[in-house]
């Protein structure tokens, strides 16, 4: 079975999806402590029910312009390699089943910041859905190189 559940989310009016199995929860990123000397995509660290979560701004990670209203954001809680991350996005849409066999490979000529993290593209009736590889999205070595 190649159909899997994905969480779809929106960034700069573009639809994205990440594998739902890595997603723990969706929360409002409040009380974020910025981390000096960290890369620009790191929003900071925050306390989520006693756990320390590293908030990563998806817009900045993908080199998108900053949101018009930074307060209207939501974070997707991810657990990767034993660490808790919160991926800050514009909005979280729905849970959607996507057949990974039907994903198109990412088009060539994507900027390197994208080429690394785009797992594939899914054609929906009305728009394109870009499937992101969360592992790579939050991979420190990929970040350092980007």
């Amino acid at each position: 079975v190649t159909a899997r559940e994905f969480v779809t989310l929106r960034l700069n009016d573009q639809l994205f999806a990440i594998d739902a199995s890595a997603v723990h929860d969706v929360f409002q990123p409040l009380g974020v402590t910025p981390v000096p000397l960290a890369g620009g995509e790191i929003a900071g660290v925050l306390n989520l029910r006693g756990r320390i979560v590293t908030a990563v701004c998806a817009r900045r990670r993908l080199g998108l312009p900053a949101a018009a209203d930074e307060t209207e954001t939501i974070a997707v809680g991810l657990e990767i390699g034993g660490d808790s991350y919160g991926l800050i996005v514009d909005s979280v849409e729905e849970l959607r089943v996507i057949d990974t066999d039907e994903l198109l490979p990412p088009p060539r000529g994507l900027p390197p910041r994208w080429a690394d993290v785009v797992q594939g593209v899914c054609r929906l009736e009305t728009e394109l859905l870009i499937v992101l590889d969360t592992q790579r999205l939050l991979d420190p070595t990929a970040l350092a190189a980007a």
Partner: protein, 506 residues
């Protein structure tokens, strides 16, 4: 309520504690087996078995301990015949002791065997390419002893099932350093070897000072803070500047200062009034300027996510009583910041030194680079020396790069050489002292470390060269590290050319 919570904390901590005996109980059997196998007579002495330590710490040091005992019994102690010939009692003694000492636990593993074979270590290290032949011969015994902790090092002649499998001491050391412990050894030929391991009592909870600077709060482990000094207009201890380095005149010594606000790139200027935390870390004493000291809290240390571990200044994070998260500052990382600060002044002083004639001796590194010419580099500008396999260097167009600690690092060719061209199977690299963005400079050979006056006499207008100086009796070119630094920063691309991160680097 605070009485109840501290009682609760104590009892929770207590349940985490276990006697070190738990890690030792397999040792008598192990030592007996080794003795029987190798025809040795070994008397194992265990002292302080009841010393308690954190279960988590215990787990982590179990294997390193086992390894070191195996080493001592296998290599350290001689056979009865050898011992009698050396005029020692037939039975060798292996002594393990554990004790509490000022919030830490000291574990000693001592044998009265033959001691480390320094000559064999030097030879092996040179063979393995860990150091050059010249380096191996020049280094003092104590430094040569440290080589046995290098990855992939083993002096055992024969591989047995007991010891000498070539893996181990380096792993032992990294295990211990992982829990911010220290490992040290002393060895006297013919009299034996002693390893000393110093480990923290617990990893879970450390007392920390909560400090504020530039409107942010940070936690500083109390263990590395020696004293607090108030600074400001009415303070008895003035902050002064020599060139751009700030020092605190504290009683009869000058303490180099690093500002937390500027060090963390939070502000242009550090506070002129506030507190200085006098700290001891990374083998040096320095002062850290903060705006205020708010509190002392018992903090529960939580590790940082992998994505943040490349920032050496922070060792973890903790949640304060009010629910907010603060970052825990790593004293060793701060020491590095202090180093960067002082290297900044070194280059500020260097041109002045050319005119006035430097009075002080500077630690210098003699290298061969760019066509085999002897050159000299100020040691303070270099954070590490590395030797890598030539095959690890990666080419991208005309540029050379190396995957270093999980990220790409530009490798610069010395001026005068067209490209990085490893002379042999291995390439020596000088890693330059920058903050967060390492830069490597490829050299042909690291010749020697000397202390000499750096008196730059001729200053040719050539890129990459500060001038010529007489070092150790011969005229050598002084490499301009600032120039290489800028060149390396350019390799990192426009992201760093933006003013803000550059400031953090400079």
């Amino acid at each position: 309520l605070s009485a109840i919570t501290s009682e609760l904390q104590n009892s929770v901590l207590k349940t985490r504690m276990q006697p070190i005996e738990a890690a030792w109980k397999t040792l008598p059997r192990l030592v007996r087996d080794i003795a029987n196998n190798l025809g040795k007579k070994i008397n194992l002495v265990l002292e302080g078995e009841a010393t308690e330590l954190d279960r988590q710490v215990l787990e982590l040091i179990k294997d390193p301990l086992l390894h070191m005992v195996r080493n001592a019994a296998g290599h350290g102690l001689e056979t009865p015949a050898e011992r009698l010939a050396a005029g020692k009692p037939e039975v060798g003694t292996l002594r393990l002791s554990a004790s509490h000492e000022a919030g830490a636990i000291i574990v000693r593993i001592a044998d009265d065997g033959r001691g480390l074979d320094t000559a064999a270590i030097r030879r092996k290290a040179a063979e393995r390419g860990l150091v050059s032949q010249a380096e191996a011969e020049l280094m003092p015994d104590a430094q040569a002893h440290q080589l046995i902790f290098a990855p992939g090092f083993s002096t055992a002649h024969a591989v047995t099932n007991l010891s000498g499998r070539g893996v181990g001491l380096d792993v032992a050391r990294s295990n211990i350093e992982q829990i911010s412990g220290q490992i040290d050894l002393t060895s006297t030929p013919g009299q034996g070897t002693a390893f000393t391991i110093k480990i923290p009592l617990t990893l879970a909870i450390i007392p920390a000072l909560i400090v504020a600077t530039a409107g942010r709060r940070f936690a500083v482990p109390q263990a590395s803070v020696i004293e607090l000094v108030r600074i400001g207009p009415r303070s008895a201890y003035p902050v002064e500047s020599i060139e751009s380095v700030r020092v605190l005149r504290l009683r009869d010594c000058l303490l180099p200062l690093v500002g937390l606000a500027r060090g963390l790139a939070l502000a242009e200027e550090d506070e002129s009034a506030g507190f200085v935390l006098v700290m001891q870390a990374g083998g040096r004493r320095f002062g850290v300027i903060v705006e205020a000291v708010l509190d002392i809290e018992e903090t529960v240390v939580k590790p940082l996510a992998r994505i943040l571990r490349c920032i050496p200044v922070f060792s973890g994070a903790t949640i304060l009583g009010d629910g907010s998260v603060v970052l825990i500052v790593d004293p060793n990382g701060l020491a590095q910041l202090a180093d960067c600060d002082s290297s900044e002044t070194d280059n500020a002083e260097a041109p002045a030194a050319a005119g006035s004639g430097a009075e002080v001796e500077t630690p210098l590194l003699l290298v061969r680079a760019g066509g085999g010419a002897l050159k000299v580099v100020e040691l303070s500008r270099i954070t590490r020396l590395e030797r890598v396999l030539a095959s690890e260097l990666e080419q991208a167009g005309s540029r050379t790069m190396l995957q270093y600690r999980g990220r790409l690092m530009p490798v610069l060719a010395p001026e005068g050489a067209a490209a990085v061209a490893p002379a042999g199977r291995r390439q020596s690299l000088l890693i330059l002292a920058t903050l967060g963005h390492p830069i490597a400079l490829a050299v042909d050979e690291i010749v020697d470390a000397v202390e000499d006056r750096l008196d730059i006499q001729m200053s040719p207008d050539r890129p990459g060269v500060l001038g010529t100086a007489v070092v150790a009796g011969q005229a050598v070119e002084v490499m301009d590290m600032d120039w290489y630094l800028l060149k390396g920063m350019a390799e990192y691309g426009p992201r760093l050319a933006e003013p803000e991160p550059l400031k953090a680097v400079a």
